[in-house]
Point group: C2
Chain length 345, copies 2
């Protein structure tokens, strides 16, 4: 099938997807019968451009890499804001990758609602809307007979949500446990090798894993958002931010690390949720000492991992990258190929 795509936001993730789409154009057409043109981009910093016949994305990337505005693109309509780009262009899939406040979920929620109400599919790596409104947005998509894909919100392009949704279907998933934040896992890996927390954090910041203000990662807030998402989307509950107990890794000392080592264990920041016998849930983000033969204990560096507890298969674990320009861009491709597959059959 052939799709017309529009980017709302055009930062690293959107550019990562664009790289993949350009490099794999032929493969995608030949192997998956997926054809595309990118008709519009609207970014609050970079400006906007719309051409109903499709943009030359190599030219677009060149402009952006030079720090220029999209207004300098030679043809097409300029100056459309996000909402107009969603409503008034001929795009049939909206790629929502704006910079969004993870707590409020805005402006992404507004963009996604607008698109779904306009009968357009949405793929997005924005966590905020899924943390705040997963159930409502999925219902809205269903009502409008379109798809809302967000594989990238947990474990980036590692297909953790699709694993639960497609491949484990028929199972009753009763809980999960995972290393859901790469930055903290990177810091713990360095501390395991002897570095202090402060030095490990500095190194993570140098590599771009941690932000200047690392609170979101090291205090477990990022992992907490993912626990909320998995609980609502995979376990079918409807919890919010406050329902999750939380403790970060800032109080873990070298002494703690060494003590664990001598017991044959390893500290990991674990996000988890289990459905209790009465149907209530117990959700938390908490540092745990795992025995070395736990599949999650061997997951080092910035790698992420997620174990689902199922009734038919017992524990099923997936391990893979949890961040990165192309790795997260690839998550959007998973969603795009799902839409293609669903509509094609």
């Amino acid at each position: 099938m052939k799709f017309k795509l529009a980017f709302i936001g055009f930062g690293t993730v959107g550019q990562g997807l664009t790289d993949i789409l350009l490099e794999k154009k032929e493969l995608l057409e030949k192997k998956y019968d997926f054809q595309y043109s990118i008709v519009a981009i609207s970014d609050i910093m970079k400006g906007s451009v719309y051409d109903e016949n499709g943009l030359d994305m190599k030219k677009v990337l060149e402009l952006v890499k030079k720090g220029k505005k999209l207004d300098e693109y030679p043809t097409g309509q300029k100056g459309m804001n996000a909402i107009d780009t969603i409503k008034k262009t001929n795009a049939d899939i909206i790629i929502e990758v704006t910079y969004t406040d993870v707590k409020t979920g805005e402006p992404a929620i507004k963009h996604i609602k607008t698109a779904l109400n306009a009968g357009k599919h949405v793929v997005s790596t924005n966590k905020g809307p899924v943390v705040k409104k997963a159930v409502e947005l999925l219902d809205l998509a269903k009502e409008n007979k379109v798809c809302y894909g967000f594989e990238g919100v947990v474990l980036a392009g590692t297909p953790s949500l699709n694993l639960a949704y497609y491949n484990l279907s028929g199972n009753n998933i009763k809980g999960f446990k995972g290393i859901l934040n790469g930055t903290t896992n990177y810091i713990l890996t360095r501390m395991e090798e002897g570095m202090s927390y402060e030095d490990a954090l500095k190194k993570a910041q140098q590599l771009g894993y941690a932000e200047a203000d690392p609170t979101g990662d090291v205090e477990g807030l990022d992992a907490l958002g993912k626990v909320v998402i998995l609980t609502n989307v995979v376990l079918g509950k409807n919890i919010s931010w406050e329902d999750v107990e939380r403790k970060g890794i800032t109080q873990i000392t070298k002494k703690d690390i060494d003590a664990a080592k001598s017991e044959g264990k390893r500290w990991k920041l674990i996000g988890s949720c289990e459905i209790q016998k009465d149907g209530s849930i117990k959700a938390k983000v908490w540092p745990e000492k795992l025995p070395l033969n736990d599949p999650l204990a061997g997951v080092m560096e910035a790698t992420n991992a997620l174990t689902y507890y199922t009734d038919e298969l017992g524990s099923v674990t997936i391990v893979g990258p949890g961040a990165g320009r192309r790795e997260t861009g690839f998550a959007l491709l998973i969603d795009l190929l799902n839409i293609n597959r669903n509509l094609k059959n």
Copy 2:
């Protein structure tokens, strides 16, 4: 959608699937719009029965558990052989789970070809046909516009093939590496705790993990079959049994285990294949000493695991059960739900 199913062979795996289908009948209908009736069973030891309106499977399981023949089922047509059951009943999906020689792939290959040529979908956990004829059988299915699903041939119901086929699509998968045999991993786990090879093997036999003649497992033949399958189905090559180097675990001693331990490593029987730069392949089953921070090193007991090497995501690993009555029966349900999903959209 509603399907009419026929079992060719009715051993533990078929009975495992039947348990799941009976217990989850309502869930499957409500959540996945999957309805079924089982119209026929033909088993070389247990006899056969056919009722175009569907069999009462609780009654069938009662008979089988008492060691009785299907001829004692109160109604329906008796005495049909496998081929007639495939061709002459009103079944639209054939569940091929006969006892089959893994080297020749027979009689399963004949059953599967007959079914596909008759325009019937096939789901099967038999490794032989996939080792010998994956490419040919998949082509035949395509020609006849039906599906041939075999998720259970690698890692039982842990969705390893579907992970590659659906969720990682868009990636170029360049190789894989896995713990593909649970029995040997169980033996190595016990040896790690101090048991001798002989005692560990005996324990595996007591638990039903290893057969009286354990050659297939301990000499790496079972893992080898899976390497052939993954190479042909996931990497898109067309190799056979002889193209894989092989060494089992029978020569690993307690001394080797202890030496690895002192290096911070752990022995695992690894099945792997990598596509070389010239497009040729390097496939083997070989014991390897893995560092403890390799995601495969923490996989203990009879659990299986498989790492795919991809161009977009780097390494992606799935860990889960590799055997078991219900776990393997569940693999057939994955295939059935895929058929349902593909035809429904």
